[in-house]
């Protein structure tokens, strides 16, 4: 099909995906704002004031980038996982499968939808955080690049999860048992330099450490890991997950009999 046809198809999937999470904004956009406010009140104001400085910044300023990133990760992932699984469950994914839509357009459309929600929620959370702390920006391009690549990574992860899922339980298992622990252990609330050497080494295999630290660098100019390594990890994840998603959907795994 021509690139114009593909562009219109991609626009349609993006429109559908963005329309979906905007239609149910009370479920998709409001909860992250409430959750993040609670984090700021509890960890920032109540507990944070007793912690003191972390890597040269007051605790509230230190955790802001991590909290924003946490919202981006969970929302990018869950948007694609629930939307694609719902499309499988209601069988309306067949609308795309019978149409001349190339697999890459389907993947790009859903990932784009996940990125849109992740970044919109990230923006909302950033605005909420302004109520609690003055945010400084060290390098806006690092912030934009990190949030884009991270949301793409987790949107792809959510898509792969949905391809394999057979029930709504299956799309909550990975966020609950893998994503949340990795996020909490990914340096959102602490600098990994505070950990014993062994656990610092273990943290190196947690990809979220790289995302949170690159993002924090964009705001505060500090990072526990090298920026080059952080972006390399992100790109490697995106390429790998994209190839997996393309292969699964092309073969019709979980989609075609």
């Amino acid at each position: 099909m021509s690139s114009k046809v593909n562009a219109i198809a991609l626009k349609s999937i993006l429109y559908k995906e963005i329309n979906r999470f905007m239609r149910i904004w009370v479920q998709t956009l409001v909860p992250p704002a409430i959750t993040i406010s609670l984090y700021f009140v509890i960890f920032g104001s109540l507990i944070g004031s007793r912690i003191g400085e972390m890597s040269g910044f007051d605790y509230m300023s230190f955790i802001v980038p991590g909290l924003i990133m946490m919202s981006v990760i969970t929302n990018s992932y869950s948007n694609v996982a629930s939307s694609f699984f719902s499309a499988k469950w209601q069988r309306n994914v067949e609308e795309m499968l019978v149409a001349p839509v190339p697999t890459w357009v389907i993947v790009a459309g859903y990932v784009g939808g996940g990125m849109a929600r992740g970044m919109l929620v990230g923006t909302i959370v950033t605005l909420v955080s302004l109520l609690f702390v003055d945010i400084q920006i060290h390098n806006i391009w690092v912030i934009i690049a990190t949030v884009s690549l991270t949301s793409a990574t987790f949107a792809l992860g959510g898509l792969i999860n949905a391809v394999f899922a057979n029930s709504f339980d299956d799309i909550s298992i990975i966020p609950t048992f893998i994503l949340t622990p990795l996020t909490y252990l990914g340096g959102v609330f602490y600098s990994i330099s505070l950990l014993p050497e062994f656990w610092q080494g273990v943290s190196q295999i947690n990809p979220i450490v790289y995302m949170v630290n690159a993002f924090r660098y964009g705001f505060l100019g500090i990072s526990d890991v090298s920026l080059t390594l952080a972006f390399s990890v992100l790109i490697a994840f995106i390429v790998t997950l994209f190839i997996i998603a393309m292969t699964l959907i092309s073969k019709g795994i979980g989609l075609r009999s």
């Binding site: 099909m1 198809a9 019978v98 001349p100 019709g252």
Partner: protein, 311 residues
């Protein structure tokens, strides 16, 4: 005449080893109104699934307007519109959104898609519901929505899998008129249905599939011409014993109703003459079932071939 669909030696074996299609061959000419009939589990939906790429085939070739689905899948898909058996639209989206997005998947720009959506929703009497979510529609409306959706990219071939299932007779007839009109505009239509009357009324050519094998593939007139016997039902004055009619099989189903089997070579006059001679008055007469149903039953093993449904 160009071939709209060419299926050759198509096989499908599902996981677990169930052989749904056992090497079927089928050709549908452009502009045809074609019926694909068969009992549950015969392989109709599997065949449609393979044509529309919702089911991966095990062997064989499928060409849509000359485009092999193995080599030119996207081109082949662009000719097809599918109305599936199950409701498969997003129940939470509005009718307009469903239709406009579907058109977008085929590369139709949104302004044109909105115009087409209006046209088809009006034609199918759904325009008033355009801003309602799909889940708010009745069963018949949902079926019509799926027809509208399948037409949004103006396909050259429309495949309808049991489109009138669960639809009342009045609505069914209006859908028949709509489909006839589409066919007259040049759209090739392939129809599977449980209502054999529907196939007889609409289709010019027919294939009967049973247990994954095409048992008959011919034109409707030739098929009906092979029918050797019909059963008529007569409403009569009350009688207590079954009358004996020379040369005819007669059954008294209740004290006011007679069923009589009449072969093609026999005359109905003969029946009436014998009944008059026995002072039995006939008030009305009708066919017991449509003719195609009788043929269908004889071709698929006395109608007892109800197997596991494969969708």
């Amino acid at each position: 005449m160009k071939k709209a669909l060419e299926i050759s030696n198509l096989e499908k074996i599902y996981k677990g080893g169930f052989k749904a299609l056992k090497g079927i061959d089928l050709t549908v000419e452009q502009g045809d109104f074609f019926a694909l009939l068969g009992p549950n589990g015969a392989g109709k939906s599997t065949t449609i699934g393979v044509i529309t790429s919702l089911v991966n085939k095990t062997a064989g070739t499928v060409k849509v307007f000359g485009h092999d689905i193995d080599k030119e899948l996207e081109q082949a898909k662009s000719y097809l519109g599918l109305v599936p058996q199950e409701f498969n639209f997003n129940q939470f989206e509005t009718l307009l959104t469903i239709l406009v997005n579907q058109a977008g998947y085929y590369g139709v720009e949104r302004p044109l898609a909105f115009k087409r959506a209006e046209k088809y929703l009006k034609q199918l009497d759904l325009w008033d519901k355009r801003n309602d979510a799909g889940r708010m529609l009745s069963g018949g409306m949902k079926r019509r929505l799926m027809i509208a959706r399948a037409l949004m990219h103006e396909p050259q071939m429309l495949i309808l899998d049991e489109p009138t299932a669960g639809v009342d007779i009045e609505l069914r007839r209006s859908m028949w008129d709509f489909l006839r009109e589409l066919n007259q505009q040049g759209i090739t239509i392939i129809l599977t249905t449980h209502y054999l009357e529907e196939a007889e009324m609409l289709c010019r050519n027919i294939a009967i599939i049973d247990s994954g094998v095409i048992v008959k593939n011919t034109d409707m007139k030739s098929l009906l011409a092979t029918l050797d016997q019909e059963t008529i039902v007569l409403d009569i004055d009350k009688i207590s014993d079954t009358p004996q009619l020379d040369g005819f099989a007669v059954r008294l189903t209740d004290d006011h109703t007679l069923e009589i089997d009449i072969k093609k070579s026999q005359l109905i006059n003969n029946v009436f003459a014998q009944l008059s001679a026995q002072n039995i008055n006939v008030h009305s007469m009708r066919n017991k079932s449509n003719r195609l149903e009788e043929l269908f039953v004889s071709l698929v093993g006395s109608g007892q071939a109800v197997k596991q449904e494969v969708n």
